[in-house]
């Protein structure tokens, strides 16, 4: 394998890790290999290299996690990817469904200077053609500052942002019951000491175990620092 190819793989690997980590703590090597379309046998070499560069934290059997340095680099690659997409659609006139594939190639050859000029030329776009946020030049990405559902207090309202699930069984079950990203929920009751909670979703109620609730991320309408003061109880609204 040529050094240049490996360099490309490194960047791609970081990018994929960054996306996958959104939904889980550590990423399994098999999953990473599959997404990268990289032979499993050569994965150890690649991961070893990344680990030596201080970009990832790799524990055999448990999986891979990006270090802060790795995250920084990953965000940079994502920025270049999404800028490339904009370039492809806005300037070269590609269809947005094609943009992604070509951008995957382009992102690896963009230098700092090109990136800067591109950003300017495109009018400092904030989202890619698919609607995903483009990280800023200083590596800031507009994270959804969501919190686990299990942290909400009774009577608090929130919107589900994502569901963290390793093997998608839980996701399947929750989705079937109408618990999925974008849905507004209210915590009705909550048992103490890490007990279950009762969630109200539209016209029905669902009891969720603490472990399940901690895998559901939500966004409240109230800013985080104000949340603590809002422990109203027993206020019921009737639709």
């Amino acid at each position: 394998m040529k050094a240049k190819d490996l360099g490309e793989k490194v960047e791609e690997c970081l990018e994929i890790l960054f996306k996958l980590e959104k939904d889980r703590e550590r990423v399994k090597m098999t999953e990473l290999a599959e997404k990268l379309r990289f032979p499993y046998s050569s994965m150890t070499v690649l991961l070893q290299k990344l680990s030596n560069m201080g970009l990832i934290d790799y524990e055999p059997y448990k999986g891979v996690k990006l270090t802060d340095k790795g995250k920084e680099l990953a965000i940079k690659v994502i920025r270049r990817h999404r800028l490339s997409e904009r370039f492809l659609t806005d300037i070269l006139g590609f269809d947005w469904s094609e943009a992604h594939e070509h951008a995957c190639k382009l992102e690896h050859v963009i230098t700092n200077k090109i990136e800067e000029k591109l950003d300017e030329k495109l009018g400092k776009p904030t989202v890619c053609p698919h609607g995903n946020p483009i990280p800023t030049a200083n590596g800031k990405i507009i994270f959804e500052n969501d919190i686990p559902l299990s942290e909400l207090q009774p009577a608090e309202e929130a919107t589900i942002t994502r569901i963290l699930d390793e093997n998608s069984n839980l996701l399947r079950r929750l989705v079937a019951m109408g618990i999925l990203p974008g849905v507004k929920v209210t915590v009705k009751e909550k048992s103490p000491l890490g007990g279950a909670l009762v969630l109200k979703i539209g016209d029905y109620e669902v009891a969720l175990g603490h472990d399940v609730a901690s895998k559901i991320c939500v966004k409240t309408d109230v800013p985080p620092h104000r949340r603590r003061h809002r422990r109203r109880r027993g206020s019921r609204r009737i639709q």
């Binding site: 079937a176 999925l180 279950a196 539209g202 029905y204 009737i238």
Partner: protein, 666 residues
């Protein structure tokens, strides 16, 4: 359950009968429908996951032979737990003429999700818009004509519990089958890019697969594959892995485009359709907070929920102990002074051999008395109380409150419902574990259920401990048993490997239990005693007499005496009764009577032995029916392992009790 099973077997030879499936979300009234149409008594309760198996019933409707199939409830076709898989398999595989989709009108939007999936399958459906009374109470009015127009299938408003609209639903279904009503099911339309991807995969499927398993359409298969349905993916992979690869590639494309997994995207869009339909047909009125909503808050709240739960338990025990013992006295008095003498006289004339007469008359009269005196008051009272708890919907609140504690045993709150059912009978309780998601949880829960003293064991506990020591001692026995279950659960949790999941359970609204359904359900459960236990009792007594007559009894007894006498300190002959206990647990007691020819158990055992005997009977080997259901549900290896463990547990705990009682007490 057993009876429905027998009927279902008979119903299999359908011939030219019309087959109708009842499908819908859990707890929407499918079983009420089934019961109303066929007249077959099935268990109906106010919690999701009451029905866990297929129940078939044959009946005549307007001169037409029809077969109705009651399914477990399911939220979607992408099923997870065993009961949901049963429902989905039936929907996909049963060659039904039509599906009656029972929809909860008070919760339309989420119920429509499954309806849309059913429409995608393109099986003809008729929608029963059930619980409109409930919806009205909650200030929801649904325009069923408009709903029918939008869905393109007939929609009939019903109140199943009052029998309103059920006839029309079946009539309409038959009309659809006969072609008197034509349906034009709506096409569930996804966003443009998703549609393009579905069509692309559809093309691949049509090119590569000659036939599609289960006769589903290419479009439906494409959607199921994009959703990553594990079962379907596996199945298609074995036929042509290229199709699955294409599906994977396209699913990834969806993920690139939308930044979320294809399964989620598709579900979201389907919910979107459900939402807009529900919105278009629903009118909401202002209303007051209902009493039951206040009750809901009270029973789940931290400060009030736990005290209420404990009070419910205490009240239940008090009812069983005091109410039961009152009824018992009444029944025993009536039996001994009126019924027993008549049977005795009758037998005297019928049975020719004098020895046999004595054995039978004693066995029958005393056996029946033990049965009646304990079974009728305590067991029926328990079943009535259980039915009330089930019908109110309180059990689910208990499951919610107990979630934390159940986690210590590797289970979650939902497992509490089958465990409680185990106090009635272990067999349906083990079946009830189907609602749990993983095999590990099912094995764990089933094991613990076999340790729960079912009503048959209650007969023994009350007949010995209750009679000779007192009701307080009975309470102590039950508490001890709970402790044994908790400790066993704690250890099993460390031993058994596998996945654990968490609690995800819908809390149904509280409903007022009605006396007739409650009594019906009690009878459905109780009739097992009448139809199975009493015949077994009679045959058992005869068999025992024969055994004694032929001189086989003593050798068998002496074979078991190292354990029975040596470790447990019981009279040698009691070992024989333990064999009969394998058939049914209460037979241990009845056979003691037959064997020793007395109902005065103090003449057979001292108090100390009674305690040990009761403990052993409670714990050792789940009865044969439970064993069979364990084997059927979890595999014979697991069933045998559970059976052996319980025998060892019984000997250990019985032995320890024996030691303690011998050295420290008496």
């Amino acid at each position: 359950m057993m009876f429905c099973h027998e009927r279902s077997k008979k119903a299999k030879n359908i011939g030219n009968a019309v087959k109708i499936l009842l499908a819908g979300n859990p707890n929407t009234g499918k079983s009420v429908f089934f019961n109303r149409i066929t007249g077959i008594g099935v268990i109906i309760s106010n919690y999701p996951g009451t029905t866990v198996e297929l129940l078939k019933g044959k009946t005549r409707f307007n001169g037409k032979e029809i077969v109705i199939i009651d399914l477990p409830g399911t939220y979607s076709l992408g099923a997870g737990s065993m009961d949901e898989r049963v429902a989905r398999a039936a929907i996909l595989e049963e060659e039904s003429a039509i599906v009656i989709n029972i929809v909860d009108a008070s919760n339309l939007e989420r119920n429509l999700y499954l309806t849309l999936q059913l429409l995608e399958l393109q099986t003809p459906i008729v929608v029963a818009l059930n619980m409109i009374d409930e919806a009205r109470k909650r200030g929801i009015e649904i325009d069923h004509e408009k709903l029918s127009e939008l869905l393109g299938v007939p929609v009939i408003p019903t109140v199943a519990t009052r029998g309103e609209g059920i006839k029309e639903v079946v009539e309409t279904a038959l009309k659809v089958i006969d072609g008197k009503i034509t349906i034009r099911p709506m096409k569930v339309q996804y966003g443009r890019d998703i549609e393009a991807i579905i069509q692309e995969l559809e093309k691949v499927i049509k090119e590569r697969l000659k036939t599609i398993p289960r006769n589903i359409r290419a479009r439906t298969l494409a959607i199921l594959l994009l959703e990553g349905d594990p079962e379907i993916v596996e199945e298609i992979k074995n036929i042509d892995s290229k199709v699955v690869e294409a599906a994977k590639r396209l699913a990834e494309k969806v993920e690139e485009l939308h930044g979320e997994p294809a399964s989620l995207r598709i579900a979201k869009e389907r919910y979107g359709v459900a939402h807009s339909i529900a919105k278009a047909v629903t009118t909401r009125y202002k209303r007051k907070t209902l009493f039951r909503e206040r009750l809901d808050t009270l029973t789940t709240n931290v400060y009030t929920g736990f005290p209420i739960m404990i009070s419910v338990w205490v009240a239940l025990f008090a009812l069983l102990l005091y109410g039961g013992s009152f009824l018992e006295e009444l029944i025993v008095f009536g039996w001994e002074s009126y019924v027993a003498p008549i049977i005795d006289k009758g037998l005297f004339y019928i049975v020719p051999n004098e020895f046999l007469y004595h054995v039978i008359s004693r066995g029958l009269i005393l056996g029946l008395e033990a049965g009646l005196a304990v079974v009728v008051p305590y067991v029926t009272l328990f079943y009535i109380a259980l039915a009330i708890l089930e019908d109110t919907g309180y059990l689910t609140r208990m499951a919610y409150l107990m979630d934390n504690i159940m986690h210590k045993m590797g289970l979650h709150g939902r497992a509490i419902i089958p465990l409680i059912a185990g106090y009635g009978c272990n067999v349906p309780a083990v079946m009830g574990t189907r609602v749990l998601e993983t095999r590990r949880e099912r094995v764990l829960a089933a094991f613990l259920i076999t340790l729960v003293p079912c009503s048959a064991r209650t007969v023994v506990i009350l007949g010995l401990i209750g009679q000779y020591i007192g009701l307080l001692a009975v309470l102590v026995m039950y508490t001890l048993n709970l402790a044994i279950i908790a400790v066993s659960g704690f250890f099993l949790n460390r031993i058994i490997k596998g996945e654990t999941t968490g609690l995800v359970m819908e809390l149904p609204p509280y409903r007022i239990p009605h006396p007739i359904p409650v009594l019906k359900k009690t009878w459905i459960r109780f009739r097992e005693f009448v139809y199975i236990a009493f015949p077994l009792l009679i045959f058992g007594s005869l068999f025992l007499s024969a055994l004694e007559y032929s001189g086989f009894l003593r050798p068998v007894a002496s074979l078991m005496s190292p354990v029975v006498v040596g470790i447990l300190g019981l009279p040698a002959l009691t070992g024989i009764t333990l064999f009969f206990g394998i058939l049914r647990k209460e037979m241990t007691l009845e056979m003691l009577i037959v064997l020793f020819g007395t109902t005065d158990f103090l003449a057979i055992m001292n108090i100390h032995q009674m305690i040990v005997f009761t403990i052993v009977v409670t714990l050792y080997f789940p009865c044969i029916a439970t064993f069979a259901v364990l084997g059927k549900e979890l595999g014979w290896k697991t069933a045998i392992l559970i059976a052996i463990s319980t025998i060892i547990l019984a000997i250990i705990i019985g032995g320890i009790t024996n030691l303690i009682l011998t050295y420290f007490w008496m």
